[in-house]
C-alpha cells in the first residue's frame, strides 16, 4: 500500500465486474460502496466495455495496474484467462481479492463468492421438491463458454442423476445464447418441442427471464415448475404471481461489501481467510417476505449509487 500517498490520503481500490448491464452488478457495486464507507477507502468501479468479453476485462485490469491502484477486487470472467494479468498486478505490488466467480490461482488474497456448483445442487433439490421427485425436466443453458453457469448446470445435472432417479432430464444441450432475446427465442422453440414438461431449470438471469417470457406468452406459465437464478423485479414478480417457483439467490451485495472490506483489512495487515462462501438461498413465493430474503432483494440502489 505504499502508493497511498500518491493518490491522496485514502487507499484506492479497483472493483472490476464482468459487465455492467445486469442488475446483479449494480448490487455488487452497492455492496462495494458500502464496504468502502465502512473501511474508509476509495473505490474505482470499472467494468469492461463489452460484457463477458475476457480480453476487454484483461484490458481493464491492465489499465488499473497502470493507474497504480492499491488493490484490485475482481469478479473474473474466466478462471484461467485472468490469471496472468492478475499475477502481473501482484508483481507490481497490487494485491487481489476475487469475488463472485472462482479462479484457478493461488496468488489471490481471498475468494468471496457463491459456490456455483452448490448453486446448481440447491436448484436441483428445490425443483425436485416442487415436483415430488418425479417428472420430465428441461434445462436450457446460457451461452457457450460461460464458466459460472456451466458449474451450476453441472451441479444441477449431477445432483439430479445422483439423488433424484425419478426426474427425467429430456433436454440439456441447447444454448440460449448471450443476449436476452436469443434466450427468449430458444426458450420459445424448446417449449414448442416439448409439450409435456413438468419442470425447468435455468441457471442465470437472462435465461430465466427468457424462459419466463416464453412461458407467459405460450400460456403455460404456472403449469410448469420453474427454478431459476437471480432476482430482478421482473423475476420476483414472476415468483409472486406463481409463474416462477424458485429463484436461487446469491448475495451480490455481500460479495461487494466483503470484497472491499477484505482488501482494506489485508492492506492494513490483517490476514484473511482464503475462501468465504456468501451462500445461496432459494426464494419462493412463501418466503419472499422473510427478513433473510428481503435483505437480498429489496436493495435501494440510490442509497449507494447516487
Amino acid at each position: 500500500g505504499g502508493k497511498a500517498d500518491a493518490n491522496g490520503d485514502a487507499l484506492l481500490i479497483a472493483v472490476i465486474p464482468k459487465g455492467t448491464t445486469h442488475e446483479f452488478w449494480k448490487s455488487i457495486h452497492s455492496g462495494a460502496v458500502q464496504g468502502s464507507r465502512d473501511a474508509g477507502v476509495a473505490i474505482y468501479w470499472k467494468g469492461p466495455s463489452k460484457d463477458d468479453d475476457r480480453d476487454a476485462q484483461i484490458r481493464v485490469v491492465e489499465d488499473a495496474i497502470s493507474r497504480g491502484v492499491d488493490g484490485i477486487v475482481i469478479a473474473p470472467s474466466d478462471n484461467r484467462a485472468l490469471v496472468r494479468p492478475l499475477e502481473e498486478a501482484v508483481k507490481e505490488g497490487i494485491p487481489v481479492v476475487v469475488i463472485d466467480s472462482p479462479i484457478d490461482w493461488e496468488g489471490k488474497v481471498s475468494y468471496i463468492g457463491t459456490d456455483n456448483y452448490q448453486g446448481g445442487v440447491v436448484g436441483a433439490r428445490a425443483l425436485a421438491a416442487l415436483l415430488d421427485g418425479k417428472g420430465k425436466v428441461l434445462m436450457m443453458r446460457y451461452f457457450e463458454g460461460s464458466g459460472s453457469t456451466m458449474q451450476r448446470e453441472i451441479g444441477f445435472l449431477e445432483t439430479v442423476a445422483k439423488e433424484f432417479p425419478g426426474l427425467d432430464v429430456i433436454s440439456a444441450n441447447q444454448y440460449g445464447g448471450s443476449t436476452t432475446e436469443s434466450c427468449y427465442a430458444t426458450a420459445e422453440n424448446l417449449l414448442n418441442a416439448y409439450p409435456q414438461i413438468d419442470g425447468i431449470f435455468v441457471a442465470c438471469e437472462p435465461t430465466t427471464f427468457g424462459m419466463l417470457r416464453a412461458l407467459q406468452d405460450s400460456g403455460r406459465a404456472g403449469t410448469i415448475k420453474v427454478v431459476g437464478f437471480d432476482a430482478t423485479d421482473k423475476l420476483l414478480e414472476g415468483l409472486r404471481t406463481g409463474q416462477l417457483h424458485g429463484l436461487v439467490l446469491q448475495n451480490p451485495f455481500k460479495m461487494g461489501q466483503m470484497g472491499v472490506q477484505a482488501m482494506a483489512d489485508h492492506l492494513a495487515g490483517h490476514p484473511q481467510p482464503k475462501l468465504v462462501d456468501t451462500g445461496t438461498v432459494v426464494a419462493t413465493k412463501d418466503n419472499l417476505e422473510s427478513p433473510e430474503i428481503r435483505d437480498l432483494i429489496h436493495l435501494d440502489f440510490d442509497r449507494w449509487l447516487k
Binding site: 445486469h22 457457450e144 444454448y175 432475446e181 422453440n189
Partner: protein, 313 residues
C-alpha cells in the same frame, strides 16, 4: 419473369427447410402454434429487412441497424415509463430510429462518406447512447398492449395469426409497391444501378439517399418497438450483430450488395428461412454451432447459385 426466377432458389430453400424439419420433428414443427412462434420471432428481423432492402437496392449498406433497434427499444420503454400511451411509445421508437437514419443519410448523401463507414460510426454512437440513457441497465416499463402485437397466443391473434405477422406482411407489401410503383422507388433502384446516370437525369440523389436511410431507420425503430414488445423491457445491449442477420436475409433473398437488384418478397423469404432453420434445429435438438455453420454456408451457397444462374444467363 426474370425477377420471379431469382426468387426460385430462396423459395425452394425455404420449402426444403420446412419439409426437412417436418420430417425430423413431426410432432412439434409443423403445427400452427409453432408457425405462430416462428412468425413472432421473424418480426424484428423482417421489419429490419424491409428498410434494409431499400438501402441495399440503392447500393448502400447499414451496419447500424442492430444498435438503432436497441436504442429504439430503450426509447419505447422510456416513453411508456414517462406515462405515454403504447401508440405514442411506438411512435417514439420509430422517430428515434428515423433520426439515427437521417443522420446516416446526411453523412452519406451530403458529406459523401461511404455507407459502410458512416453506419459503422453510427453503430457505436447509437449503442453508446442507448447505454448512456439507461445507465447500461435494462429498463422496465409498465404494462401495455404493445407486447400483444408479438404475442403468439391465439387470444391476441388476428385471423389465427399474430398481429405482428400481419403488420410485417402488410408493410412488406406496401413497401414492395413503393419500391416498384412510385417515382421514389424508381429513383432508389436507379441510384443503385448507376448513380451518375441518376444524377444526370435530374434525380435528387442526395435527397433520395437521405430519405432511404431515414426510412430504414424508421423501420429499425419499429423493429425496436417490436423487440421491446417481445422482451417487455428496453435493453441497451440487445440486438448486437442483428444487422448481419438482416443483411443476410436480404442477400439470401437475392439482393445484390452492388445495388439495383433485390426485392421485398425475397427479403421476407430470407428472414423466414433463417428463423425456420433456427427453430427447427432447436426442436430437433441439433447442437447450436451447426446453426451458425449452416447459416454461413447457406449465405455463400445462395449467392454462388445466383452467380452461376447469371453466368448461364
Amino acid at each position: 419473369m426474370n425477377r420471379l426466377r431469382a426468387l426460385l432458389a430462396p423459395f425452394l430453400g425455404l420449402l426444403f427447410v420446412v419439409l426437412l424439419f417436418s420430417v425430423l420433428a413431426p410432432e412439434s414443427f409443423p403445427t400452427l402454434y409453432n408457425f405462430r412462434t416462428v412468425s413472432t420471432q421473424t418480426v424484428v428481423v423482417g421489419l429490419g429487412a424491409i428498410g434494409m432492402s431499400f438501402v441495399i437496392m440503392s447500393g448502400g449498406i447499414d451496419l447500424s441497424v442492430g444498435s438503432v433497434i436497441a436504442l429504439s427499444s430503450v426509447a419505447a420503454a422510456a416513453a411508456l415509463n414517462a406515462g405515454w400511451s403504447a401508440a405514442a411509445a411506438i411512435l417514439a421508437a420509430i422517430l428515434t430510429g428515423a433520426i439515427c437514419g437521417l443522420v446516416n443519410g446526411l453523412l452519406i448523401a451530403r458529406l459523401r462518406i461511404m455507407p459502410f463507414i458512416a453506419t459503422l460510426g453510427m453503430m457505436g454512437i447509437a449503442r453508446g447512447t442507448a447505454k448512456r440513457i439507461t445507465g447500461g441497465q435494462k429498463i422496465d416499463a409498465p404494462a401495455s398492449w404493445l407486447p400483444d402485437l408479438v404475442s403468439k397466443s391465439s387470444a391476441d391473434a388476428w385471423l389465427g395469426l399474430p398481429p405482428g405477422l400481419w403488420i410485417l406482411l402488410a408493410l412488406a407489401a406496401l413497401m414492395a409497391g413503393v419500391l416498384r410503383r412510385t417515382p421514389f422507388g424508381l429513383h432508389v433502384v436507379a441510384i443503385g444501378s448507376n448513380e451518375a446516370t441518376a444524377r444526370l437525369c435530374g434525380v435528387n440523389v442526395p435527397g433520395t439517399l437521405t430519405r432511404v436511410y431515414a426510412l430504414n431507420g424508421a423501420f429499425a425503430g419499429l423493429a425496436g418497438a417490436m423487440l421491446f414488445g417481445r422482451l417487455s423491457v428496453g435493453e441497451p445491449t440487445a440486438a448486437v450483430g442483428l444487422e448481419l442477420d438482416i443483411i443476410a436475409a436480404c442477400v439470401i433473398g437475392g439482393a445484390s450488395l452492388s445495388g439495383g437488384e433485390g426485392g421485398m418478397l425475397g427479403a421476407m423469404i430470407g428472414a423466414f428461412l433463417m428463423a425456420f432453420l433456427a427453430n427447427g434445429m432447436n426442436l430437433a435438438q441439433v447442437e447450436n454451432y451447426w446453426q451458425e455453420i449452416l447459416i454461413g454456408a447457406i449465405i455463400v451457397a445462395a449467392v454462388a447459385l445466383d452467380r452461376w444462374r447469371h453466368r448461364r444467363g
